[in-house]
């Protein structure tokens, strides 16, 4: 159809209302030594060592920051094992045998409300840096770098939109731990000395609205509000969310802090709450296991480092065992597909989507223009595709593929089932050369 596609066929109703299954004590846990942002790491422990939960066991090094590695349970360090990381690469993982005692590291302590009220922004930034908080919506951008901005912040946006279809991890988090979210927002507002915070959700989430209408009564007068925004994809994108929530149109690539806005994912907020209240890194998270390739889609609350293989039997195993499966970590529009189910839940894995592989027959492009109409950054995907096919670099540069946010809408809306997004990724690479 020649139309703008923003509504994506969604299965959220299937799992969004299910409470998360607690699966927090697996036999073994696996901690990544490297990730997409941090290619190198130093490990401080030797095989056979005992580790406490939340103990710093190493340090990941990236280009411009270091990130401590925390154990997520107490037990014995067994050795290294290779598993698939979220980014699709085979990575060394630290294998820890759980002793089920969950002894906590001595650094953890509960800060009283008075102590927290006395914390300055710099102290909070340091705590967040030590707890290795990152953007848990999937970006894994270090939160402390966001905290280091010296621009005045007028409004904090909390992203609970979760605009990708299928995923309900943030949905469950918001429903099950509303007070943690609120406390996290309170601390962040204190850090930025900001008087206003908006919790953005899709307006179709009536259940979240009902919960927060109640909870916000207890936080009356603190400037925290619920903001219902559109139901479309990609509403969760920074620029779109800021436009819908505050009416401010950002230029692409412009930092929101220039306009006095800073935004965090809801799960990052809970991470900040844990870090500031207990000095605790993120060791557990919500995760959705769903898709048409799995028997009973479910939400889980798991320890970071759980192997995904263990979750599949809990969901009743694979459906249609003779059909090939696609295994996606993240959303079905932007998530990475991994070549094996032997992968590990890291901090930023929001969901596991198992889809039956569909082989779409690619037809010639009939220039219907759906991709152009759907593109949220107003590119012309089909023109870029033709430029790539013609290997015309001049044309590619003029069509500006570097602005693409890889939301996947061009491929989603293509009537000819062409993988347009792949061509644009190629154009991005080629124009950089």
């Amino acid at each position: 159809m020649i139309t703008k596609n923003t509504k994506i066929h969604d299965t959220k109703n299937l799992v969004g209302s299910l409470p998360a299954v607690r699966y927090v004590n697996p036999k073994y846990l696996y901690i990544a030594t490297a990730n997409a942002r941090c290619p190198k790491a130093d490990i401080y422990i030797q095989p056979g060592d005992h580790v406490d939960s939340c103990q710093v066991i190493g340090m990941r090094h990236a280009a411009f920051f270091d990130q401590p590695i925390h154990a997520t349970c107490s037990g014995t360090f067994v050795g290294y094992e290779k598993h698939y990381h979220r980014n699709g690469k085979l990575t060394d993982f630290i294998k820890i045998e759980n002793d089920f005692k969950d002894t906590l590291d001595k650094n953890l302590h509960i800060r009283s409300d008075e102590e927290i009220a006395a914390l300055s922004k710099e102290e909070m930034t340091q705590i967040i840096k030590d707890c290795a908080n990152v953007g848990l919506g999937g970006s894994s951008f270090p939160t402390y770098i966001k905290f280091q901005t010296d621009k005045p912040i007028n409004v904090i946006l909390v992203n609970g939109i979760e605009c990708e279809p299928y995923i309900t991890a943030d949905h469950r988090l918001m429903l099950e731990y509303p007070y943690r979210v609120m406390e996290g927002i309170k601390y962040t507002m204190q850090a930025f000395n900001c008087k206003k915070a908006l919790i953005c959700i899709k307006s179709k989430y009536k259940d979240i609205k009902a919960v927060y209408d109640q909870v916000l009564k207890e936080y009356a007068g603190q400037g925290i509000e619920l903001c219902c925004v559109g139901n479309y994809y990609p509403q969760g994108r920074e620029v779109e969310m800021i436009k819908s929530a505050t009416g401010i149109q950002l230029k692409q690539g412009e930092l929101p802090s220039n306009k006095g806005i800073i935004n965090f994912n809801v799960s990052t907020m809970v991470g900040i709450y844990k870090a500031i209240k207990f000095n605790m890194p993120v060791i557990k998270r919500f995760i959705t296991v769903t898709g048409d390739g799995i028997m009973f889609p479910k939400n889980f609350r798991v320890r970071v480092g759980t192997s995904i293989k263990e979750l599949i039997p809990l969901c009743g195993g694979y459906k249609d065992p003779d059909v090939d499966k696609v295994f996606i970590l993240g959303g079905p529009m932007m998530g990475a597909s991994v070549p094996s189910d032997d992968c590990i839940i890291t901090k930023t894995v929001t969901s596991i989507i198992i889809l039956n592989k569909t082989n779409y027959k690619e037809e010639p492009c009939v220039r219907c223009g759906s991709c152009v109409l759907s593109c949220p950054v107003k590119l012309e995907p089909v023109q870029i595709m033709n430029a790539v096919k013609a290997m015309d670099k001049e044309r590619m540069k003029k069509l500006n593929p570097s602005r693409c946010i890889e939301c996947g809408l061009c491929t989603y809306s293509c009537t000819s089932k062409i993988q347009v997004t792949d061509y644009i990724r190629r154009a991005k690479l080629l124009t950089k050369l």
Binding site: P332, G335, Y360, Y412, S413
Partner: protein, 374 residues
């Protein structure tokens, strides 16, 4: 069960090119059925011949494009055939060729000699489509190319055909009521009432005259979103505006002419509605961006009205569609194509409305086109 890797996104919309093409055929069906009812013999043989010729040419064309490259080994005919066609000739090839054939049938008048139908269909599909690379790559609307070629080469061989549906008044055979308008014979306009214009009880082509079925088809296409409303709205809008201006200009010279009636005749005669519904909206030959699509509709509309008003040709729609097909290619050039509405393309749209309006008014009022009869 294997776990396979693929690139994001992993889900797709439930729609396909096949579905869009079937939609066009469904939208064409009422008009086609009406044509067959009114001219049973002529419509059926024109349709069958053009379906056969266009599908055959498409089949041969796909085969020639995918010929097995020359190597020193021997290949059986079966191998060569499979190399050329396996996965390359599908339902969408048949559907596009059939759409072209149906449109070609409906824009031909009844009584076209069979050899002219065959040659026109061949020229249309080969020079309108296959030489550009077939499905998805063609610049011109194959049906329009075929129709224009037949008309220009064999126009004098067309025979008039009588039908039970209406009685032909004493006019030159094969002339559409548009010809009457254009030839300065406004008196003849009363010959056919507005009612017969709407019902298609006028001489004309096989399918262009049945306005009710065409509007049903157009509505279906727009509801199914298989046609872009931008092109339809801008084309019909500019045609209405310009014919209204022409009507008003004539009214200022001759008070006997009712400008609204003049506009209604202009819009309901000839192929304006048919072209807007089925030929201009063909996505392959229209531009990609939405501002360009508005411009494309405007260009086609201006050309249609100018050819009708001032040219010696009776029928402007097919010509204007072919010319705007060429302009569509230019509109899609990467140097200026954009999907944003900026001052440049808004100015172009504005000029495309204002300049033709002024030109129509000036030429009719002061250009001496009006000879006292019109």
């Amino acid at each position: 069960m294997n776990i396979v890797k693929e690139t994001a996104p992993h889900i797709r919309k439930k729609s396909s090119v096949t579905r869009m093409m079937v939609d066009v055929l469904i939208a064409l069906a009422p008009t086609l059925i009406f044509a067959i009812v009114v001219y049973p013999l002529q419509a059926i043989y024109t349709l069958l011949i053009s379906l056969f010729v266009m599908n055959g040419a498409e089949f041969v064309g796909v085969g020639l494009r995918n010929l097995m490259p020359r190597d020193d080994q021997k290949h059986s005919f079966k191998e060569r055939f499979e190399f050329a066609y396996k996965g390359k000739f599908g339902i969408s090839n048949v559907l596009t060729a059939s759409i072209s054939a149906v449109i070609y049938t409906l824009i031909l008048p009844p009584g076209v000699p069979i050899y002219a139908i065959i040659i026109g269909a061949l020229v249309g599909i080969i020079f309108g489509k296959l030489v550009f690379g077939g499905l998805g790559s063609n610049i011109f609307n194959p049906a329009a190319v075929g129709m224009v070629f037949t008309k220009l080469c064999f126009g004098s061989q067309y025979q008039s055909v009588s039908t039970w549906y209406y009685t032909v008044p004493d006019v030159a055979a094969g002339a559409t009521s548009l010809g009457l308008l254009n030839g300065g014979m406004l008196d003849n306009i009363t010959q056919y009432g507005l009612k017969s214009l709407i019902l298609g009880q006028i001489p004309g082509t096989l399918g262009e005259v049945y306005k009710i079925t065409i509007i049903i088809g157009l509505a279906y296409l727009l509801i199914r979103r298989s046609a872009d409303y931008r092109i339809v709205v801008s084309y019909l809008g500019i045609c209405t505006l310009l014919s209204l201006i022409a009507g008003l200009s004539v009214y200022s010279l001759n008070n006997a002419v009712n400008p609204l009636r003049f506009t209604a005749y202009y819009m309901l005669s000839g192929g304006i509605l048919f072209g807007a519904a089925f030929m201009l909206t063909d996505p392959v030959t229209s531009p990609i961006n939405s501002p360009s699509r508005w411009i494309y509709g405007l260009v086609a509309g201006v050309l249609t009205i100018f050819i009708r008003l001032f040219a010696a040709l009776p029928e402007g729609v097919a010509f204007s569609i072919l010319i705007s097909n060429m302009i569509a290619v230019a509109l899609d050039h990467y140097e200026w194509s954009t999907s944003k509405y900026n001052w440049k393309n808004l100015l172009t749209m504005g000029l495309l409305v204002v300049i033709p309006v002024l030109l129509v008014w000036i030429i009719i009022s002061f250009g001496g086109v009006y000879n006292g009869q019109l």
